[in-house]
Every structure is written in structure tokens, then in C-alpha cells.
């Protein structure tokens, strides 16, 4: 059987444009208590959220930049020149028709095809910091699934929201999660009732469209007992000359027997600092799986984590990073085992092109008195040019007997024989190189939903252009 699939036409050049901004609400430049009160006023936050924001600000100002282990490039961020909040002044839209035309045009340029919109269960599209458009397919709504913007979640479902919000990633987790806690706006809130298996992936597109503006979305996903959900997040951004900051917080909660799969394709413009905290909590028999692709941005620091809190919980991180000239992909995974018979798996593949630098940073923690915990970590790095750089910094702590942990990493380059062989068969060197790189990531990409794997392969090909010769 053969099905026709048209390749999704994603061209990075197409993200390289922007429309005039018409922001009604603007908190100005820089960060102070005044900014926080402004945001809280505009968003009509309840008192506990305002307190939460102020606590975030205090922690953010207290904590030093983590440059004792992280890239010194962080010092290039001028926190006083960033606008921390602005919104188009529109409430989240219910139907496609209500979406403003120029925003629709933006999506058009991003290449979200018409049929895909129908296919997808719901599209949560974020334009700047407010969710502009959110539409949940009727079937999903009927199952009792809540899929709304984080603000609406806070307003309409306070009892679920407050119970889990900030519980997996506390305010003081790190400097950037504290910043997000102070100024968060936008992002998704998802609740899947017990036993409900959401067939189609829920999807959200994020986009930055204001110079010097940081985006601080906050996503909270709760999968109740025995439910299943897949969430997809993809990013593109127009190119600006001054650094832009993106610092999101994503919290996942998989209750007993639930499964959450969270997929990210990150393709920010090459001036964006992408400093994201992502963590999932897996209760008994639950599974949290992060699929993480990092292709864009200037510096990405992102280490999706899973805390396996219940017996037989499972955590998984599949990660692909592509670092081209001027980029540093500092990615990895954290696996915290805190119950018996928990298993975790980390597979990371990175490709460094030109002067790009890819870093894997990992943490695996198995405390004492746990039985039959297993972790497997594999990191493979591919170097394309002589100037490319790759690093691996895992940290593994194992206490007690009865657990098995293994870590393996390798660094290699495309073999000259392979390239020669393909050139013999009539491919150009660039084509051969591209084919090799796709082969290197293929077994990981295959695990992605179809439309993402196609998109990803196209993106890799685009990045590989001009990297040889």
C-alpha cells in the first residue's frame, strides 16, 4: 500500500520576516516590581499568583548566572533591555475565522498546510505572549479534555491548576525558571481525564515577533490516571539584530498509569537565547517521554527531566541537536529515580557543523535502597568540519546494590569511505554528506510523528547546505 504524502515546505528563509507590531499592552523595558504588578494587573491575576510572581522576581535577582558551569555567552544577555510583557490585546480566539489576517499570513508563511489543521486535534497558536488562537477539535472536547491557554486555565480551572502549578519546577529551581515564574504569560494548560486516550497530538506553535522581547510561556500538562496524550511544540522566529530571550517552563504530571509524550522542534532565529526548564513527574506505572530537537537559536540550554516517583515509572528523553556556525546547543537530560523498578532511557545525537558547538549535559540519580532501577544513556556526536566542537558532561550517581546504570558516548565523523562510495554512485559530496547525517539520526527520527520527521529531515538538509567544500 502506498500513500501519497507531500513534503511539508518549511524554509528557514521564510521565517525571516515580520509584520508591524500593534501591541496594546506593553510593560515597558526592564524588570522591576513595577513590571510584575503591571503584568499581574493586566492579566487580573489572583493574589496567590501575584505573590508567586514576586517570589520569582526576588529569586531571579538573588541567583547568579550559572556561568561557573555554563557558557559565558549568558553574560551577553542584557536583562534591562528586554521587554517582559506585551500582548496583542486580543482574547484567545475560538474559531479560525476570527483570527486576524496578518497572523494568518504568518502561519501561511510558516507552512502549516490546510489539511494538517483539519487533521490535528487542536491548534494552540501563540503570537507573542498571548494565545491568539486556540481551537480544540470537537471530539477531544467531548472526551472532557481541557486544552486552553495558561491564563484561561488559571481562570476557569483554578482547582486543578493551582494544585499542580509550580509543583514540579519550584520557583527557585534555577535563575531562569525564577524569571519565568515572575513574568510568565502564554503557554498551554492541558488536563486529560482518567482513562482518556487522546488520539491526535495536541499542537502549539510559538513565535516571537517583537524586537528585544522575551517570551516566557508556561505550560502545564496533567494526564490523569490511565490517560494518554501527545503534545507538540514547534518554534520559528524572525531574525532580529539584538538578542532575544526565550525562557519557558514546562511541567508535566503523569498520574498512575498515564502516558505523556512531549515533542519539541526548536528552530529559533540564530540570535535567540533559548533557556528552558522542562520537567515531568511520573507516578506509578506512568511514562513521561520527551522528544527534543534543537536546530535553531544562538544558545540553547535545555535539559528535559523526569522524576520517577512511583513504582515502575518510566522516563525517556530522545534528543537531536544540530549546531551550526555561531550556535551552541547545550542540551541533555536528567533522570531522577525515586522509586523501585523505575527505568529511564536517554538517547542523544548531536551534529556539529562549521564552528557550531553541541554539548550534552546529563544527570542520572539513583538514591539508596531502591531496587531494580535501570538507566541507559547513549550519546553520539558527529563532527562535520575541522572547526566543529562537541562536549559531553554527564554526572551519574548510583547508591546501593540492585540497580544497573550504563552510560556510553562516542564521537565520530562521517567516514571518508562512505562519502567516496556515494560519490561513486553519482551523488555530489554535499548530497552524500546530507545522506550520511540523515542516516546518523534516522533511527531517532523514525520515532517521531510522521509530519515532524519529514520536517526535521528537511531542516537537516537545509542546515547541511554549504557545509562541505
Amino acid at each position: 500500500m502506498k500513500t501519497d504524502t507531500t513534503a511539508i515546505d518549511i524554509d528557514r528563509g521564510k521565517g525571516d520576516f515580520f509584520y508591524p507590531e500593534a501591541h496594546v499592552r506593553d510593560a515597558g523595558v526592564g524588570l522591576s516590581e513595577r513590571t510584575i504588578h503591571y503584568i499581574a494587573d493586566v492579566k487580573e491575576d489572583p493574589d496567590w499568583v501575584r505573590e508567586f510572581r514576586l517570589r520569582g522576581l526576588k529569586t531571579f535577582l538573588e541567583k547568579p548566572l550559572p556561568t561557573h558551569w555554563a557558557s559565558k555567552d549568558l553574560e551577553a544577555i542584557d536583562f534591562d533591555k528586554i521587554r517582559y510583557y506585551l500582548a496583542p490585546g486580543t482574547e484567545p480566539k475560538r474559531s479560525w475565522e476570527e483570527v486576524p489576517d496578518d497572523i494568518k499570513r504568518t502561519f501561511e508563511r510558516l507552512g502549516i498546510p490546510e489539511q494538517e489543521r483539519k487533521f490535528l486535534a487542536g491548534v494552540e497558536a501563540q503570537f507573542d505572549s498571548e494565545a491568539v488562537y486556540s481551537n480544540i477539535k470537537k471530539a477531544v472536547g467531548e472526551q472532557g479534555v481541557i486544552f486552553v491557554g495558561s491564563r484561561e486555565g488559571l481562570k476557569n480551572y483554578p482547582e486543578i491548576f493551582r494544585k499542580w502549578f509550580g509543583k514540579v519546577i519550584p520557583v527557585a529551581d534555577n535563575k531562569f525558571s525564577a524569571l519565568n515564574s515572575a513574568v510568565f504569560s502564554g503557554g498551554s494548560f492541558i488536563y486529560v481525564p482518567p482513562g482518556v486516550k487522546v488520539k491526535h497530538p495536541l499542537q502549539a506553535y510559538f513565535r516571537i515577533n517583537a524586537e528585544n522581547f522575551g517570551q516566557f510561556e508556561r505550560t502545564l500538562i496533567i494526564a490523569d490516571e490511565g490517560s494518554e496524550v501527545t503534545y507538540m511544540e514547534g518554534c520559528t522566529a524572525p531574525k532580529f539584530n539584538t538578542p532575544t530571550l526565550h525562557s519557558a517552563v514546562v511541567e508535566l504530571i503523569a498520574l498512575k498509569g498515564a502516558k505523556i509524550q512531549y515533542i519539541t522542534v526548536q528552530n529559533w532565529a540564530s540570535n535567540v537565547f533559548n533557556l528552558v526548564t522542562k520537567r515531568g513527574l511520573a507516578q506509578e506505572n506512568a511514562e513521561v517521554k520527551w522528544i527534543d530537537c534543537n536546530i535553531g537559536s544562538r544558545l540553547t540550554m535545555k535539559y528535559p527531566s523526569v522524576i520517577m516517583k512511583g513504582r515502575k515509572a518510566r522516563g525517556e528523553v530522545l534528543s537531536i541537536a544540530l549546531a551550526n556556525d555561531g550556535q551552541h546547543q547545550d542540551t541533555g537530560a536528567k533522570m531522577i529515580h525515586s522509586a523501585d523498578e523505575t527505568t529511564s532511557n536517554i538517547i542523544s545525537k548531536s551534529i556539529s557543523i562549521g564552528k557550531g558547538r553541541a554539548t550534552y549535559r546529563g544527570l542520572v540519580h539513583v538514591p539508596k535502597h531502591l531496587k531494580n532501577c535501570k538507566n541507559n544513556t547513549e550519546c553520539d556526536a558527529l563532527l562535520i568540519n575541522a572547526t566543529s566542537r562537541t562536549d559531553t558532561y554527564p554526572a551519574i550517581t548510583v547508591r546501593g546494590t540492585g540497580n544497573a546504570v550504563q552510560h556510553e558516548a562516542s564521537v565520530s565523523q562521517v567516514s571518508a569511505e562512505q562519502i567516496f562510495y556515494m560519490q561513486q554512485r553519482g551523488l555530489t559530496e554535499a548530497q552524500a554528506m546530507s545522506l550520511s547525517v540523515n542516516g546518523f539520526v534516522n533511527d531517532l527520527v523514525r520515532q517521531f510523528p510522521m509530519e515532524y520527521s519529514v520536517e526535521l529531515k528537511r531542516l537537516i538538509e537545509l542546515e547541511m547546505e554549504g557545509s562541505v567544500g
Binding site: H68, P394, A395, V398, A409
Partner: protein, 440 residues
Amino acid sequence: MMSSVANHEVTKSGSILSGPSDSRDFPDWFRDQQRAAWKTFESLPSPTRKDQAWRFANVNLLDLAPYNISGPLSEDDRTNVLKYSRGLDQFAGRMIFVNDQLIERDVVSEDLKRRGVVFQPLERAMVEHSDLFRKYFMSTEATLGSAKFAALHQGLVSSGTFLFVPRRVEIEQPIEIFHWLRHDNMSIFPHLLLVTDELAKVTVIEHFRSCNLTAPGFACGVNDLIAGPGAKVTYVCAQDWASNVIALQMNSTTVDHDASAMSLNLHLGGRYSRFESLSRLIGEGGRSDLLAVAVARDQQEFDARTLQDHVSPHTASDLLYKNALDDRARTIFGGLIRVEPHAHFTDAYQKVRNLLLSDDAEANSMPGLEILADNVRCTHGATSGQIDEDELFYLRTRGIPTKVAQRLIVTGFLDEVIHRLNQPAIAEHLHRLIKERFSD
């Protein structure tokens, strides 16, 4: 073999924190260096757990206030220690230090001397071979976290071993060095400077021991190994300090073109024992093997930090560290393979394996890679596991009691590393030490 007992007098004793002593008969330039190093020591901050180079380490144990510089030894001290300084049956030369004082020196054969081998205590070499000495003494910066302790060492070092092996000279039997800690709360600063010229070959084994099995003490040693072009250098450290000793050892190995260096560190004793090993491959065709075995028990903490630094293209390095952990022991391994820009065609391996024998033991592994060149082959691996129940069952069905079977499996696990040395006499000695450790 000739035997000569050094008899220089040590007059000063007191807390190590009172700084370098002026009473020793050192050249002025060396004194100046010591004073400068002491200033560096005082100016550098104490390590904290937040420093990446000290992550997981129990830095609270590094309080230096209780430790003293030893006064003169009694005749009784000397004869007793001499009696217990048993290592290998055959050796080419031997030095025995007690509290940093040389009590015995078995010099190398007349033949080797004639061919230019220098085997001298540090204080003599710095006078008689000052050019060579000054060129290499503490010439590599301590970059793996212990800059402060390297400065402390340089400020207070009072003796040690200088060994120079000239071009094409091969010393068949190993050179043996003993460092003893005697009396409570003593501190020592063992030093070894080994320089080999082109195509030379030598093996050195250092024994670190305490006279009293529970006496607290502090050891802060440096060993610098320089493998000249085409030279073959083997270094073995057999560390068996008393259970209350705090020990730091900083090693740097420089491997020139077509040279090969192999080091094996056996860690058995001490309360906290940190070992930093920096291997720099500076010439094509150079190869460095870094091996280590630790048997960690009770409250012991072994902290190993390594760097395989590939500076030149076409170099190879291979690291294998194995830890067996029992009781509440902890081990830390922080290792890095660094391939510098232009060091293409590097072949580098790194493997750390932890065998956990109790529920309270903790193994921390941080194997790292930094690759700034291409056409490299680098892999690293870290595993942590426990004794295979099937293996244990098999041995028990053969009538071997559980305890013995466990010991057999652990010894077998550690043996792989020692075999890599390919030096049967040394391997046998290390085996004996491990066996004694298990029968304590």
C-alpha cells in the same frame, strides 16, 4: 647494591599553616619560589562543592589546621620503618622517606650511573642538576581543581625524588619509593620528578603507607612524569594510608612524540583520598594509558579527576578506572577527554566501572568529552552495577562460601586493570595488597 642513610637534620616542627621554613639549606631561587607559592596558597579560595572540579566531594574534610610538620626522627623510628618497607623483591633503586625525611637510599648500579642516570633526593638534584630541575619542577599548572593544594605543596615540599634517565638508557628493574606517615597528625608533601630523554625506559613504583593504622595525617603529593620522544614510562602508585588520613595527589604526565606512558593507581587507604591525573599528549604517535583501581570501604571517599589532553594530532589515550564499593563508601570519578583544535586523528577512550557491594555505597561518575577537532575517535562509558547473582550462585554450587565467592568475583573484576600493566612482579605485589585489604 650500596646503601646509604641520609642524615640531614630537621630542626623545625609546627603547624603546616605557619608556612615555609627558612631553616632548610635550599638555594635562594628555590626559597623564593616557596614563598611565592605560599602566597598563592593563601590567596586562593578553599574549594567548595559548587566548584565543578569539586562536585560531589566532601570538601569539609579538608581542614588543614590539625596537621603539623614533623620534627626529627628517632633512631627507633628509622629502624622500625626500614623493617616494614617491603615492596618488590628486585628493584634498580630505592628511596625510603618517613615524614618527608629520607632514611634510606639504595642507589642505582654503577653501570647506570656511568650512563648518566640521576637518582637523587630533590634537595641535591636542585643544586647538582639545577638546569634540568628548574626546567621541569612544578612546570605544569594544576588545572583539575587543586591549584591551591599544588601551591601548598610547592610552599612546603622539603624532599622527594628526582630521577633522570638519559637517551637510550633502559632500566630493567623498577625504581621503588616509599613514603611513610609516622605519628599522629603529621603531614607530608611527597614529590617525584621523573624526566626521561629520548628512547629511555623506566618503571617507578611509589608506596604510600602509615605506620599506625588509625593515626590521622595529611599527605599532599605531586608527581610529574616527562616521557621524552620514544620513551617508555610506567608509573605505579600503591596507596595504603591509615583510615584517618586525608590525601591529595596531583599527577601530570607529558608524553612527547612516539612515547608511551602508563600509570596505575591503586587506592586502598585514607579517609578522603583525591587523585588528579593530567595526561598531555604533545607529540604525534604519543600514547597514554591511565589505569586505576580503588577498593572503598567503611566511610572512605575516593575522588579521582582526570584529563586526557590531546594537544597533538595522531595521539592515543586509554583510561580504565574500576571501583569496588562496600559499606558507606563513596567514589567520585570526574574525567575529561579534551581534543584540542588541530589534534586530528585522536584515538581516545575512557571507561569507569563501579561495583556496588552494599546498599549504602555511592558511586558518582562524570565522564566527559570536549572535542574541538575532527577525524577523531573518542568514546567513553560509565557503568554501575552489582555482583551478578548467577555468578555467585555458580560459585556456591561448587562449594565456595558466599563471602569467599564474593571476594573472588570482586578480585576478578579488579584484576582486568592490573593485568593491563603487563608487569608480573608488580601485579603480584598489588594483588597481595588487595587480598590483605579484604582480609582485614
